[in-house]
């Protein structure tokens, strides 16, 4: 059939007129689909039901029937094995009964054990204890004496032993005390200038009788204040010509460097771990005729914290407002994202789990009823925030709260925002 008839021409020539931009959030959907592993389609949005056709249902049953004889044999063997302990137990029962028939023996034995335990547990008398200790000491002393006599060439006489005891009991005056001959003099603290003159700065000598103390640093001595100031001035005067020369050399570059250093200083204000989100800082917007205008502003609140405030306005009315925070916890050494997910406005906390050039993913595993992932991904015009629940469905209260997002399904909520110029 010809393609050149009137109807064909009419449609072919006007075919391009159907070209039309799809809805704005479609890219977010595609991007969300791409995030999912291949094979899992949008069907994930709906609960899955397995449809079993009669044929497919019959297939596994046939397979089971094929192995039925083996299963039967195996079950018999298992039954025998399970029953055998019961049989042995029954055989042993009469013997046990005989034993149980002699309660007197059991009673006597138990009593004997009890008595023994009680006797061990009872405390000894004080006198008995002392006698025991004395005996032990005597035994030990004898052993030591024997050992000493064996080792020494000449056995020690009682006289020697007495001398030893005397030596031990000498009065404290006769002890040799190692003290300095001269009386201890206070070491004069050297001034900075004197110290400079001397090549080796003498350390204060160690005096055992004097409590050990470190020499005071010159700066710590308030009396040396004027001298230190004078020294500092001297140092500045020495360094000044060099600085002037350098400044003259730079001359023109100085102004340029100033601007740069200001930028650097600003950058340094952000914590290195938060610098990852620096691209997010700014104001974003999204306009939809039905919902209104969404404005989201991300700013640096603290070197460790950036805050995003999202507002939905319809005309002059503020319909919705929420605050999000990305911060670095110094103690835990982790980056977190806090954002509310229901009308209670209590922020749910997510930890930064992974990031690459495409997206930044925060996750939480503590509460199963909360979405488990929050994804931030920069787009051509701005950025997209995706809230994902992969362990079930978003709760009704969460869906109600997230209804202002561009797209909401029962497992994800997506917000597309454009960077405001």
């Amino acid at each position: 059939m010809s393609r050149e008839d009137y109807i064909s021409k009419l449609f072919r020539e006007n075919a391009d007129k159907l070209d039309e931009q799809p809805s704005q959030d479609l890219w977010s959907r595609i991007s969300g689909e791409l995030d999912q592993p291949e094979g899992s389609s949008t069907q994930e949005d709906l609960p899955r039901f397995e449809q079993i056709s009669p044929k497919s249902a019959a297939r596994p049953r046939g397979a089971i029937l094929k192995f039925a004889p083996y299963f039967a044999a195996a079950s018999i063997v298992a039954a025998i094995l399970l029953a055998s302990p019961l049989f042995f137990e029954q055989e042993a029962a009469p013997k046990m009964a005989q034993k149980m028939a002699k309660p007197s023996d059991r009673g006597l034995l138990a009593e004997a054990i009890k008595e023994e335990a009680e006797s061990e547990a009872l405390p000894l008398n004080a006198k008995e204890q002392e006698a025991q200790f004395e005996a032990q000491e005597k035994e030990q002393a004898q052993k030591i004496l024997q050992a000493a006599q064996e080792k020494s060439a000449k056995p020690l006489a009682d006289k020697d032993l007495n001398e030893l005891t005397k030596l031990k009991e000498q009065p404290i005056d006769e002890l040799v005390v190692l003290t300095q001959d001269a009386s201890p003099e206070e070491e004069p603290i050297l001034l900075q200038e004197q110290a400079e003159e001397q090549a080796d700065y003498p350390l204060p000598k160690m005096r055992p009788t004097v409590p050990r103390n470190y020499a005071q640093t010159p700066a710590a001595d308030p009396s040396l204040g004027p001298q230190i100031e004078a020294l500092q001035e001297q140092n500045i005067a020495k360094a000044a010509p060099k600085q002037l020369e350098e400044e003259n050399k730079r001359g023109l570059r100085k102004k340029q460097a100033k601007g740069r250093s200001r930028k650097k200083a600003q950058k340094h204000k952000i914590h290195p771990r938060i610098q990852l989100f620096e691209w997010l800082l700014g104001e974003y917007e999204d306009q939809t005729p039905e919902a209104g205008t969404s404005i989201e502003r991300w700013r640096l609140l603290h070197p460790n914290v950036i805050e995003g405030i999202a507002v939905l306005k319809k005309g002059d009315d503020k319909i919705f407002e929420e605050r999000m925070r990305i911060f670095y916890d110094e103690d835990l050494r982790q980056v977190f994202l806090d954002l509310p997910l229901d009308d209670s406005r209590l922020p749910a906390r997510y930890m930064l789990s992974q990031f690459d050039t495409e997206r930044i993913i925060f996750e939480q595993n503590d509460q199963a009823d909360l979405p488990n992932k929050i994804i931030l991904q920069p787009s051509l015009q701005g950025y997209t925030l995706i809230i994902l629940q992969e362990r079930g469905f978003l709760k009704t209260r969460q869906q109600q709260y997230l209804q202002h997002r561009n797209r909401l399904s029962n497992v994800r909520a997506i917000r597309d925002l454009k960077l405001k110029e």
């Binding site: 931009q21 890219w27 595609i30 990852l276």
Partner: protein, 195 residues
């Protein structure tokens, strides 16, 4: 680092060539994918819209088609046009979508569809609304064959393979589709003449 990249994302006005985009997509670059989507989404949405009736369904087809484009980008040899390759994927996805709800092989006979009066503004010119209104009057089988043959330029053998029908069924469906379309256009003309 996203910081550096995002700068280029938001502020760069450099035009990227199709080859660069394809390379980017091959590397799994999210932004290259988005640019490809932006470049072809309108055309492909129009294409999808011609096959499935509602906007929601057309979008569903588009989502699946673009996912396939980015996942199977390695299969694009680079010999033919990239747009043509995407177009084929969109058509295939639309057909797959229709197959879920419609069995092409079972709808050979003409079914009576209550014809709605479509107003055509100028005889040789059709607006998007008019095209859609006319196409919507056709039963799914007719519309599909009509689109594949007239607009996409497939042969009956190819259409038969794609839809799982015989070549003769494809031919007869096209004849019936054109006949129906002519009736609709004439009806529209008559309405215009009356006005």
């Amino acid at each position: 680092m996203p910081a550096a990249r995002s700068y280029s994302v938001h502020q760069s006005t450099k035009t990227v060539t199709e080859e660069e985009l394809i390379e980017g997509c091959r590397a799994g670059n999210h932004l290259a994918q988005e640019r490809v989507y932006q470049r072809y989404s309108a055309k492909m949405f129009g294409l999808s819209r011609r096959y499935v009736k509602t906007t929601e369904n057309a979008e569903e087809v588009l989502v699946q088609a673009f996912c396939k484009v980015f996942r199977k980008i390695d299969k694009y040899s680079g010999k033919g046009s990239f747009e043509g390759w995407i177009r084929r994927i969109v058509v295939n996805e639309a057909l797959m979508f229709l197959r879920k709800k419609y069995r092409f092989s079972e709808h050979v006979e003409i079914t009576e569809v209550p014809a709605k009066a479509v107003q055509i503004s100028v005889e040789d010119e059709l607006s998007a609304k008019e095209i859609l209104a006319l196409l919507e009057q056709l039963p799914t089988g007719y519309r599909t064959v009509f689109n594949l043959y007239v607009v996409e330029g497939y042969k009956h053998r190819e259409i038969a393979e794609m839809l799982g029908i015989s070549i003769n069924t494809s031919k007869s469906q096209l004849i019936l589709a054109k006949k129906k379309m002519r009736t609709l256009v004439e009806a529209a003309r008559q309405i215009r003449g009356m006005k």
